[in-house]
């Protein structure tokens, strides 16, 4: 199972890549495998303010709809529009072209509370 070393992880299987005060968020390889065939992604609206742990998007497989929680608080600044026509990117490229949204992080200290790659690997093993 792929767990990249340069990311932080949430208990609820989201990852975040911090670039300055911008965080890029998606779901992990483990999560996409559990979800299996993703057929629809409901993206947040740009400008929406979300709190850490709040639902920011919904990913639907054939069988079920799953909430995607924002790992940290912030304002949504960009969403991955490519997922609207190709939701399967979440399955094929969960850490790259399958990213879901970017947000302006309001409290960088929240990143410290997230899991390290080692801790997340432990969680899913």
């Amino acid at each position: 199972m792929n767990v990249p070393d340069d990311l932080k992880y949430a208990q609820t299987h989201e990852w975040i890549r911090a670039e300055g005060d911008i965080g890029i968020v998606g779901v992990t390889d483990h999560a996409q495998e559990e979800l299996s065939d993703v057929v629809f992604v409901e993206l947040p609206e740009v400008g929406k303010v979300v709190a850490a742990g709040e639902t920011a998007a919904v990913v639907e497989s054939v069988k079920a709809a799953s909430d995607i929680y924002s790992p940290v608080s912030g304002e949504i600044v960009e969403v991955n529009a490519a997922l609207q026509n190709d939701p399967g990117l979440i399955n094929t490229s969960p850490f790259e072209s399958g990213w879901i949204f970017k947000l302006k992080i309001s409290d960088p200290s929240q990143l410290e509370a997230l899991k390290s790659p080692e801790a997340y690997r432990e969680q899913i093993s």
Binding site: S36, D37, V39, F40, V58, E60, S61, V62, A65
Partner: protein, 357 residues
Amino acid sequence: MPNRTPLYDCHIAAGGRVIDFAGWEMPVQYTGILDEHRAVREAVGMFDISHMGEFLVRGATGEAWLEGLLTNRVAKLSPGEAQYTLMLNERGGVIDDLIIYRLGPDEFLLVVNAAKIDEDAAWLQKHLVDGVEFRNVSAEFSAVAVQGPKARDVYASVFGTELPPERNRVLSVSFQGSSGYVVTTGYTGEDGFEIIVPNAAAAVLWNALLAAGVKPCGLGARDTLRLEMGYPLNGSDLSPDRTPLEAGLGFFVDLEKGDFIGREVLAGQKAQGVPARLAGIVVTEKSPPLRSHYPVFVDGAQVSETTSGALSPSLGYGIAMAYLPSGFAKPGQPVEIEVRGKRYSGSVAKKPFYKKS
């Protein structure tokens, strides 16, 4: 403690992802629902349906007894033939939908839904009459459904003989020294067959089918396949509060055959019209997958909720079923379906949603 079918280890070995279904640990998928759905539409797949119930009915008055408990006319069946039928409560509501197979002049096999085995058996026991032998043999038998355009080739290669060309047939077969039944029925809209064997023969059968190239398929694909055909699922689309006429199953109800439990209510509905009908709905704009219990609107007012729904893998758009007031249950009627607070345009559509080209 959930039940496991005799094929549980086979599912794990094939990479099956197991979920609870009506108290049974069943595979929801192996490689993926879309992949398995496609295999059944284009080639051949198999489903463990051992959790379903099997009842045997014997006796010279067995036919007459069953006529009084089921909606379709049992007398139409010659030995070796089967029909879809329903068992109703006194209010005309559906207890269960099932398939009845006539094994001989005085011998019948009933295959019922897993979730309803106990309730069905109790109902039949309660109405049992002298001279009829009723046996619930659900715990003794396993079953595998083999479905898809290549199912016939698989049958010929595994059993060394041709499958009967007609649907709704039952024949006794011998497999690995055990006697069982092969039936030409299914729940996918594809050609195919189902094999019912004693538990001890189940794994050998599964592995023989696997070796013949049949793809294991889970409950997820079973659900999308049946929904594309507009086949109802009891507990979702059928209920004790809805009659088969409301469910659009009038073809399987014979009001002329004599009395049966629930008949009076159905005859009244036939004369006066049904208040609601189970309608097919398609969305006509891009939408999330439809699921059960989504609100349905006509002209801005909520009129119902969906009983089943999916993003149809074969068609690529959302399909659903809902009981709509009869005036709205006509093909072409515009509706809206609400998903997480957003409404999506759709319209009532004829079933089946999916037609073989």
